[in-house]
């Protein structure tokens, strides 16, 4: 039965609905248990994926489960589970002690899983909207907070615009190619020498809509405000799972139906890549708020990942997956550290608040420094390997100037990562001592990410091989 291919998704949907009822019945008291149950649901979904490794098409070819989708979904479940665990550490102070919070993440997760498994533009759109709507609400979760409301509204308006552009692009593609199915689209555009202008135009619109979701320049404007305004656990979630999902979606759309017409889109991707790397690196230099800084860092990293996509081959797809996976580890770690730090119950946001952290909280400072070096791509940290694979793909595809621009931008970005290390290690501690204890789950997650970043160098092969396997299922050489 083909529906069994979607078992984890069906399970998550059912679990989400049941938890919704549970939340309604128990009220706000159920916040903690809902979070725990959500994490269990993610774990069970992951176990189902391991136990049931079938691949193929389902639901009238609208849904596809292949190695690529499995790789991304597995990473998504892991990242989302970790973000829920981090958020549930001290929800009361952040105003997140409501059952809706983990539930919204669960529904966003469901949307993301649908996105990466979509084999049809309509399924893609449905998954994307389920994810986006959940994210809009999450951004504005603290209703009484002006900044959060502003961020949520901004995100919603710009996101709706992007969805509109995407939908318009989809309609053009449907109109000129005659189908919304990826397989049908692929056969419509490959092999012919003359591609209708409408298809090209539609592709541009689809790229623009999806570029918004990964916050690639020039569609990045929402990112700094949303990162800053949203509650930190939500920002942590943003930086991780949705980023990977949108990147995977873009990769699938460009490589599967349009894999045969790379010349039609790779100039767009190259432009997005260069613009994102430049803006993310230079604009980050001027930031004083650490969450905003991470937003610019995310923009720069999205740009670098796009370099791999621009290569448009198997090595490129593999590089994108490795790069984003390693980025997520470091980003989750950074937000874990930020969540650990609070002063009189308030979370800290300014970079200068980290002054002398290496004296007051040596282990946290060490972890943060490791994440910073990883984000900067300095070996032997994990981030370096992502960089290596991306630029290897670029060089293989003959895009040496793009690789050179990329590495030079990474040097510029290194300046702001170094500044954080400098503030923590070289500056004297601020007068106020930061509160000591932080929740165990939070510390465990942060420590695990730090270990992953450091120890990756000793065993890079499993991730590399899994990504290669995933790339093979998407791009046939």
């Amino acid at each position: 039965m083909t529906a069994s291919l979607a078992m984890p998704e069906i399970f998550l949907a059912t679990a989400g609905l049941l938890l919704l009822i549970y939340g309604v019945v128990r009220g706000d008291r159920s916040a903690g248990s809902t979070a725990v149950l959500t994490i269990w649901a993610f774990m069970l979904a992951a176990i189902m994926m391991i136990l049931h490794p079938a691949v193929g098409l389902a639901f009238h070819d609208m849904f596809v489960n292949d190695a690529f989708a499995r790789f991304v979904k597995f990473a998504l479940l892991l990242a989302s589970g970790l973000s829920v665990a981090m958020a549930s550490a001290s929800p009361g102070k952040l105003g997140l002690a409501k059952p809706e919070y983990p539930l919204l993440i669960l529904f966003a997760m469901l949307g993301m899983m649908m996105m990466v498994s979509s084999n049809d533009l309509m399924a893609l759109y449905a998954g994307l909207e389920l994810q986006s709507l959940s994210l809009y609400v999450l951004t504005a979760f603290r209703r009484d907070d002006a900044k959060a409301s502003e961020a949520g509204l901004k995100y919603f308006v710009l996101g709706a615009l992007a969805s509109g552009i995407l939908l318009y692009g989809i309609s053009m593609l449907y109109g000129y190619a005659g189908s919304t199915n990826f397989t049908a689209l692929a056969s419509a555009v490959t092999g012919t020498t003359k591609i209708p202008a409408g298809v090209t135009l539609g592709l541009v619109f689809v790229c623009a809509g999806l570029a918004f979701k990964i916050a690639a320049v020039p569609f990045h404007m929402w990112a700094p405000d949303v990162y800053e305004g949203a509650p930190t656990p939500v920002t942590a979630f943003f930086a991780a799972a949705p980023k990977l999902a949108a990147m995977a979606l873009l990769t699938r759309v460009l490589m599967q139906p349009f894999g045969g017409v790379i010349h039609q889109w790779n100039a767009i991707i190259m432009f997005l890549a260069v613009a994102s790397m430049l803006l993310g690196s230079f604009a980050g230099l001027a930031q004083s708020n650490i969450k905003r800084l991470m937003a610019y860092s995310a923009i720069a990293h999205a740009g670098t990942a796009l370099v791999g996509l621009a290569a448009g081959d198997q090595a490129g797809v593999q590089a994108v997956l490795i790069y984003v996976a390693l980025y997520i580890i470091a980003a989750l770690g950074v937000f874990g550290v930020i969540l650990c730090l609070r002063r009189r119950g308030e979370e800290i946001e300014k970079i200068t608040d980290l002054a002398g952290l290496s004296k007051t909280r040596p282990m946290l400072a060490l972890a943060m420094a490791l994440f910073m070096f990883s984000l900067a791509g300095v070996p032997p940290m994990a981030g370096f390997f992502g960089k290596y694979f991306v630029f290897l793909a670029a060089v293989k595809a003959g895009m040496i100037p793009l690789a050179i621009i990329g590495v030079l931008c990474s040097v510029v970005a290194t300046a702001y990562y170094l500044r954080i290390v400098k503030v923590m290690y070289f500056d004297e501690p601020a007068e106020e001592i930061l509160d000591e204890a932080s929740a165990l789950s939070l510390r465990v997650v942060t420590a695990a990410m730090a270990l992953a970043v450091v120890l990756f160098v000793f065993a890079p092969a499993p991730l590399v091989d899994a990504a290669l396997n995933a790339a093979r299922s998407l791009v046939h050489v």
Binding site: F373, F384, Y388, I400, L408, V411, V457, P460, A461
Partner: protein, 489 residues
């Protein structure tokens, strides 16, 4: 062959030491000293197993690291790299000893030093390009922290400049490495040697490597980070910086430029000789004008490394042997001189030359020690500096008599700034109260200097011991180089 993976043990033993230091913080000093001494003792085993007559790589270790890309954990040493490994293992315990005087966050300091040792030994034993790059860049992190946390007043500027400047050079090298990996279909360095790359490509690759190695060496005009890094770094940081980090550039030039890109190296040799001569003369003149002891010795380092690059790009046996000897001798002498400055700094907390005077009458043992090392630095026959500089200049003479003549002028300038420094610090009357109150060398300090002293004299009197290890490999490198660079289309 060894029954155990000696090179990996040497590489990761200090890392283990660092972990132990961090876990058992209270005895940081002794744990660090013991672990670095064990590493040194084990490193001597290399000499036992190493066969100098064999010009290939020895003590090789290989296992798959990233199989899908054929990236292999591949280690090995040849005559060129053996010395750099030994120098690292030898200088680290001395740095640990000199770091004993540090009081602030000693645990982290010792751990950073040991991590640095791991990275350095890793560079000189790596035979896979990705592995090489990982270690090459990995050096930046502990060094950045050593300068930034334990440095002087302008340490933040110095540390950031050091990091970004060298990082900028290295990322271009990364692109070159990626290109070579793509072109040669392997990342194994041994498979890339001997002119595998056509000249028109090799020239661009060479320039990318030049961006990295010229900054590290440092060559004029890429040296501007060095004086700041040296002045602000704590003594142990300066010692390891001058002793080993600068040699990463020279080692890279031999290993990558001469061995992998011979045609491009031949093409750029005149430029390199010119830059080397400028480095020698310019840095010596600037050294003359310094009032800060550390800065003066930092510029002297730039000048000495100029002789090394002069010898390397002369590309003849005299030149390459000379370059190797210059680098080995400079590791001893520069380390010793920075330790000497550190001795004064521990007592007076300044490197300003004008604050001293008449130290010879207060600290006679120290003054003798300083004199010997200063003379070794100026290239006095009988001490370590002479042989290498002489050979390097002889090698240069065979290529360009003008370059050799100008480089010889640098020797005169070298004597001038060193002796003038000595006169201003040590001679005259000690009429400042704080100078008069300085105690002479302690036992710990003598322990730091004694091994350096022995080696400096040994190398001056009988350099054959040092040359025998690398000479067969060096002449092999050159014979391949000449075959490749001359049959260039």
């Amino acid at each position: 062959m060894t029954p155990f993976p000696l090179l990996s043990i040497l590489t990761f033993l200090p890392l283990l030491g660092a972990a132990v230091v961090l876990l058992f913080g209270r005895r940081a000093r002794s744990i660090a000293l013991v672990s670095s001494l064990i590493t040194f003792a084990l490193s001597l085993l290399i000499l036992h197993f190493f066969d100098p007559a064999n010009t290939g790589f020895q003590l090789e270790e290989k296992f798959n690291w990233i199989p899908s890309l054929d990236i292999v954990y591949h280690k090995g040493v040849d005559g060129i790299s053996v010395w750099f490994v030994l120098l690292t293992a030898f200088l680290t315990p001395i740095c640990v000893l000199s770091g004993f005087s540090i009081t602030k966050r000693i645990k982290e300091f010792m751990a950073a030093l040991l991590v640095l040792e791991t990275m350095l030994i890793g560079i000189f034993t790596a035979l896979d390009f990705v592995l090489f790059y990982v270690f090459f860049e990995g050096v930046l992190i502990p060094m950045f922290l050593i300068i930034g946390v334990w440095g002087g007043e302008k340490r933040i500027y110095a540390a950031t400049k050091f990091f970004l400047y060298t990082f900028l050079g290295s990322v271009l090298m990364l692109v070159a490495i990626i290109f070579m990996a793509h072109y040669a279909k392997t990342t194994d360095m041994t498979a890339m040697m001997g002119g595998k790359f056509p000249k028109e490509i090799a020239i661009f690759l060479w320039l990318a490597f030049f961006a990295s190695f010229a900054v590290k060496t440092p060559l004029w005009p890429f040296h501007t980070w060095l004086p700041y890094a040296h002045v602000e770094a704590p003594t142990a940081g300066s010692v390891i910086l001058a002793g080993i980090l600068l040699k990463m550039g020279g080692y890279g030039m031999i290993r990558v430029m001469l061995q992998m890109l011979p045609q491009a190296s031949a093409f750029f040799a005149p430029m390199m000789l010119t830059l080397s001569v400028i480095a020698i003369l310019y840095a010596s003149l600037v050294a003359l004008a310094q009032t800060d002891m550390k800065k003066l010795i930092a510029y002297a380092s730039v000048a000495h490394m100029g002789y090394a690059t002069l010898g390397i790009f002369s590309a003849n046996p005299q030149g390459l042997d000379g370059a190797m000897l210059v680098m080995i001798s400079h590791a001893f002498v520069a380390a010793a001189l920075f330790l000497c400055v550190g001795v004064l700094y521990d007592r007076m907390h300044t490197h300003d030359i004008t604050r001293f005077g008449g130290v010879a009458s207060v600290m006679p043992r120290y003054a003798t020690m300083f004199m010997i090392f200063a003379l070794a630095a100026t290239g006095l026959p009988g001490l370590s500096g002479f042989v290498g500089e002489f050979l390097a200049m002889q090698g240069a003479y065979l290529v360009s008599s003008v370059a050799a003549a100008l480089a010889a002028l640098g020797v005169v300038l070298g004597a001038a700034y060193m002796l003038w420094l000595y006169r201003r610090v040590f001679f005259g009357y000690a009429n400042k109260a704080d100078v008069k109150a300085m105690p002479d060398l302690s036992v710990r300090e003598i322990c730091m200097f004694a091994p350096l002293l022995v080696l400096v004299v040994w190398m001056g009197l009988y350099p054959v011991t040092f040359r025998n290890v690398f000479a067969p490999t060096a002449s092999h490198v050159l014979s391949v180089y000449h075959v490749q660079s001359e049959e260039a289309p």
